[in-house]
Each structure stands twice: as structure tokens, then as C-alpha cells.
């Protein structure tokens, strides 16, 4: 029997009111792949992740994680939302925020204990934020907030990670730290899907890529499908990969 895909999406279609934002998306992602999702604004990149995770209700389609329907395999999936999706003035500390990553495993009512705390410390250490663990989250810079968000997902200890624009507006240190963690996750056999906006860095950061613009244009290894043809189909006719990307 063939090994199941880490992520398998069939015929996923999402509409807001009357307008379809995702149309018939099929996606098969093998285990251990770092995949970027690229596409113009309004292409449905964020919606695709949200639909896969059940945050947005699709009109049609199914999602399988390691061969099982997503809702039966939720614990194997971790999520890093867009930084702007929460109120950072919320009264809590970095450590406390990261601890939320353990809530899913704990289930209802049960509170995080010593083990979860230990895990949260380790996750903060990995993203280089341990020194800031008692900081109020609004006092962190944008990049630091993003790293704390990543630490929370690391604490989930999943096999598949979905990240929504984790590199959006972060400083160079954070970008490097996050990419290192992505590569580490990849080496450990985890599958990581990242909504990404910077085409220049796609070949450097990812080994797979999905071109999205309401419909799926292409999915596959960067080496095979990251070329002008697909970029033109995704972004419009006269799009050329800049020289920086080709070198």
C-alpha cells in the first residue's frame, strides 16, 4: 500500500456570499516537504489554509491529513495565524501565550502543568525568545511577536504545520530564525505549508511551491515548476522572474 500523503485536499471550493474565492482545489503534499503558497492579493492563500483547518466553512471538498479526515486527525496539525489576527494588547505574557499551544492536547477543563510549562520554555528557547518569557506581549516587537506565535505552534508538537505569512513585516533576525526552524522541521520529517509573499526567496526557502489564484495553477517541486510560465499564469501575462531569483 502506498504511504498516505501528509496533506490531501480534494475539490475544495470556498465562496464568500456569491463570489467564489477558491475553486476546485486539489492538492497532494508528501511528508517532509516545505511548501510555499504564492499568489497575488486576493488569490485566496489565507482562505485556503483556513478552509483546510475548518476555520472557514467550504462549500464543497474534503481534507485528509495522513489519510484521515482532518477533524479526526486535528492533533497532528499545528497552525500559526497571521500576526494581525489578534489583539496584542491582550493582558498576557509571552510564556502564557505559548502555553496555549498545549491546550489542544490537554482537552477540556484540564489546566497546563509542569510538563506543559517545561515544553513552553523549550519552545521559546528554540525561537530565541526565552529571555522575553515574562514580557507583556504588546511590549514585543513585530518580529518577536511572530516568533512567539511560532513557539506556540511548536508546542503543539504536530506533524503538519500551516503558517500564514510568518515572514510578513519581520526583521532580518526573525526571518533567519524562522527559516532555520522551518528547515529543522523539514529535516525532522514534518510537513510545513507557508503562505508567502516574497517570490525572490521561494527557491531559497522552500522545496515545494503552490501557485494559487482562486484556482490552483500548479503544485510541485520548486526546481520543476518555479518558472516564468507558471508565474505568468498566476500573476498576469508579462511577469518575469527577476534575475535575483534565477541566479
Amino acid at each position: 500500500m502506498q504511504k498516505p500523503y501528509a496533506i490531501e485536499v480534494n475539490d475544495l471550493t470556498v465562496a464568500y456570499r456569491f463570489k467564489p474565492v477558491l475553486w476546485d482545489i486539489d492538492l497532494k503534499v508528501p511528508e517532509g516537504v516545505l511548501m510555499g503558497i504564492v499568489g497575488p492579493n486576493g488569490a485566496g492563500k489565507t482562505t485556503l489554509i483556513k478552509a483546510i483547518l475548518g476555520i472557514v466553512k467550504p462549500v464543497a471538498g474534503s481534507v485528509y491529513i495522513y489519510g484521515k479526515p482532518y477533524h479526526k486527525n486535528r492533533s497532528r496539525v499545528a497552525y500559526v495565524p497571521q500576526r494581525g489576527s489578534v489583539d496584542w494588547d491582550f493582558p498576557t505574557t509571552a510564556l502564557d501565550l505559548v502555553l496555549m499551544g498545549s491546550y489542544g492536547r490537554l482537552g477540556w477543563i484540564k489546566r497546563p502543568g509542569k510538563k506543559e510549562r517545561q515544553g513552553a520554555h523549550e519552545a521559546l528557547e528554540k525561537v530565541g525568545m526565552l529571555d522575553f518569557k515574562d514580557r507583556q506581549i504588546s511590549e514585543l516587537s513585530g518580529g518577536q511577536q511572530q516568533r512567539v506565535f511560532l513557539a506556540r505552534a511548536l508546542l503543539e508538537d504536530a506533524q503538519v504545520y500551516f503558517m500564514d505569512e510568518p515572514l510578513q513585516g519581520v526583521d532580518a533576525t526573525t526571518e533567519k530564525a524562522i527559516i532555520n526552524i522551518l528547515k529543522e522541521l523539514g529535516k525532522a520529517g514534518k510537513t510545513v505549508v507557508v503562505v508567502h509573499h516574497d517570490l525572490q526567496t521561494v527557491p531559497e526557502y522552500f522545496d515545494w511551491v503552490t501557485f494559487l489564484n482562486v484556482k490552483k495553477i500548479a503544485t510541485g517541486p520548486v526546481k520543476e515548476i518555479f518558472h516564468d510560465d507558471n508565474l505568468a499564469k498566476t500573476y498576469g501575462i508579462n511577469f518575469q522572474i527577476s534575475e535575483a531569483t534565477q541566479s
Binding site: G54, I55, S85, V86, F90, T92, T93, M100, Y103
Partner: protein, 374 residues
């Protein structure tokens, strides 16, 4: 002032005062805790709408029963309060109307309907109707032992539920979408916390009234937020502020003739908010201004010192005296700034009113200079 002490004494001895005092404390605690969720979930206006939507519920209950009964009034208020809430949620979900507009519409429609019913009732030939209009601005004096008992048990139950679902409610409040991906039923949690907020509001109607109840819900929480960066501490503080406002407001209104309790409690709560916004050491306006001024001063000092350094290094010995005029030619400096530099031993002033860097000042300036050019 004497009356205030009298009141405190009465609290322990007099049955009526004790009942009212206990009632307002319970109300303050419950609305402080649940108000914190309303504030953090940015549902402040929803509280106001729910409170106003409760008025027709009370009036209809009276029309059905023909007598005043606070327990049934509570149930009636909850029913129309919930209907109002669902209506608002429905409007924002299924139409393009924004939340603030929906809140405004529902609030006024329900309140208007409630007032119409109240006027109708007043024209009726029912001797029992007197005092029903107390629900507009509240009348703590009408609190009976049974009322306080109901408030305490319903309020206590609400707090218990908050305690049980503490982790889930915190997660829902901060990041509901993430909560969903962790497998929590966010719809259930949403309904749960909103229902608890409705209960907290309805519990206060008799004491504070439909018009002012939202202030009782929001003020203690807003004040508490200023003093802490931890959600748990905020909620405990909000409960404390709520109780404080309740008992102080009752005391003030009891010691001054004919001052209505509800509005007085609200005024005390709002005073707490104002004081917190000004004096809180973390987020207060005052401490922020002080920090800002301090950092400006330090900046100006190091700026002046580095200008002096640039002048001094043009000479063989760093303590070569220069006129103050010279500094003016470079850029503006402050008299108080020079004075402080001198007091701290960074510069010295010669008898003929010229300045020179001291050894300490020279080294400090050198440090600053190196830092700047790194």
C-alpha cells in the same frame, strides 16, 4: 463624613442597610468579572444593548403576572435580552449592516418598546404598577433579602462556570480561530460567555437600571486593565473595583438624603476609571508622561555632552575651557541641562564663566561617541 461612618456601622447592625450593601457588593463582583470578558472581547456596546433590551422583558412579565416579582422579572429580562443579542448577531451575520449600526438599531427599538409598555402599564388600573419605572435608573432601596439571595446564587454560579472554563474562555477571548483549530467548540464557548454576560447585566437591573448598567459592567474592568498585564489579576481587580464602587456608592447615597443609589455607584466606578487612567504606574497617562520627559532629558544631556566632546577634541588637552557662546553656535543647549551636567561632575565651570570637560565627562562622552559610531 459622620454619616459615612454611621452607614458602615449600620452595615453590621441594620437589616436593610446590610441587605443593600451585600447586594451591591455581589453585583459589583459579578459585573466586574464578566465585564472583563466584555471589554477584552470588544463587546462593550453589546452589554449596553442587552441592558436596554431587557426593559420590555420586565414590562411584559408584569403585564402577564400583574404583580412585581423580581425573580420572574429576571427571567423576562433574560429572555428579551437574549432575543436582542441573537437579533444583533443575526443582522451582522446575514446582512451587510455593520455591528455598531445593528447595536444602535436594536438598542433603541427594544428600549423604545419597553418605554411604550411602561407608559401603557402606568395608565392601567393596577395598584401594583408603582415603582416599575425604577428599573430605568435602578433603586437599590427596593432590594430584599430574596433578591440578594438570587443575585448571590446566580452570580456565584456564573463565577463558578468562569472558573471551570477558565482556560477555554481565555483562549476564546484572545484567539478564537486558533481555539477552533485546537478542537474546541468555539460556538459553545461563545454562547456560554455571552449568556454569562447577559446574566451579569440582568442581575444589576434592579439596582443600577437598564440605562446605566453597561457602565457598571465596563468601568471596573476598564479600570482594572490599567493596573496589570495579567488576565487573572485583571479579573480579580475588576471584581474588587466593582465591589468597592458598589459599597461606596451605596454608602454615599445613603448618607446624603435622596441621592439615587444606581447613578451614585456608577459615578464612583467611573471615578475609579479616571483615577486608574491617570495614576496607574504601567499604563497611566501620568507615568507615561514622566517617562517621556525623563528620556527627553537624558537624550538632551548626552547630545550636549557629545557636542562638547567634539569641541574638546580639537585641543590637545580635553579640559581646555570654552565659552558658552560657542555652544550656542553649534546648536541649542539648555541652561538646566548645563547645570545638571555640572552637578553630575561631567563638566566644570571656570571663574571667568567658561566651561570645560572633566576627566569623567570626557570619558563618558568618548563612550557615547564610540557607541554612536559603531
Amino acid at each position: 463624613m459622620m454619616e459615612l461612618f454611621d452607614f458602615i456601622q449600620q452595615l453590621f447592625t441594620d437589616y436593610t442597610s446590610r441587605t443593600i450593601g451585600l447586594g451591591t457588593i455581589v453585583l459589583g463582583i459579578v459585573s466586574g468579572v464578566l465585564g472583563s470578558y466584555a471589554v477584552l472581547r470588544r463587546q462593550s456596546l453589546l452589554g449596553d444593548a442587552i441592558a436596554h433590551a431587557a426593559l420590555p422583558g420586565i414590562a411584559i412579565t408584569f403585564l402577564i403576572l400583574g404583580v412585581k416579582d423580581s425573580l420572574f422579572f429576571l427571567i423576562g429580562a433574560i429572555i428579551t435580552g437574549v432575543i436582542g443579542t441573537l437579533w444583533i448577531m443575526g443582522i451582522t451575520r446575514f446582512t451587510k449592516i455593520k455591528t455598531d449600526t445593528a447595536l444602535g438599531i436594536i438598542l433603541t427599538v427594544f428600549f423604545g418598546f419597553g418605554i411604550v409598555l411602561l407608559t401603557l402599564i402606568q395608565q392601567m388600573d393596577n395598584a401594583n404598577q408603582a415603582g416599575l419605572e425604577d428599573y430605568l435608573f435602578g433603586q437599590a432601596a427596593t432590594l430584599m433579602e430574596e433578591d440578594v439571595f438570587i443575585m448571590a446564587s446566580l452570580g456565584g454560579l456564573s463565577l463558578l462556570v468562569v472558573g471551570i472554563f477558565w482556560k477555554e474562555l481565555k483562549l476564546l477571548t484572545f484567539d478564537p480561530q486558533y481555539a477552533k483549530t485546537l478542537g474546541f467548540n468555539t460556538r459553545f464557548l461563545d454562547v456560554l460567555i455571552t449568556s454569562l454576560i447577559v446574566i451579569a447585566i440582568v442581575l444589576g437591573l434592579q439596582t443600577v437600571g437598564v440605562v446605566l448598567m453597561s457602565a457598571m459592567l465596563l468601568a471596573p474592568a476598564a479600570a482594572a486593565r490599567q493596573w496589570t498585564n495579567k488576565m487573572g489579576v485583571m479579573i480579580i481587580l475588576a471584581a474588587f473595583f466593582g465591589a468597592l464602587a458598589g459599597i461606596t456608592g451605596t454608602a454615599i447615597s445613603a448618607s446624603m438624603a435622596n441621592m439615587s443609589t444606581g447613578p451614585t455607584i456608577v459615578m464612583v466606578a467611573v471615578t475609579l476609571v479616571v483615577l486608574s487612567f491617570i495614576f496607574s504606574p504601567i499604563r497611566g497617562l501620568l507615568s507615561r508622561k514622566i517617562r517621556e520627559l525623563k528620556s527627553r532629558k537624558t537624550l538632551r544631556k548626552s547630545k550636549t555632552l557629545s557636542v562638547m566632546y567634539q569641541v574638546a577634541i580639537n585641543h590637545e588637552n580635553y579640559d581646555h575651557p570654552h565659552s558658552f557662546q560657542l555652544l550656542n553656535n553649534f546648536r541649542g543647549f539648555h541652561k538646566s541641562c548645563i547645570r545638571e551636567l555640572r552637578n553630575e561632575g561631567y563638566i566644570a565651570v571656570t571663574p571667568d564663566k567658561q566651561w570645560k570637560l572633566t576627566k569623567k565627562g570626557f570619558e563618558e562622552a568618548q563612550n557615547l561617541y564610540v557607541q554612536k559610531n559603531e
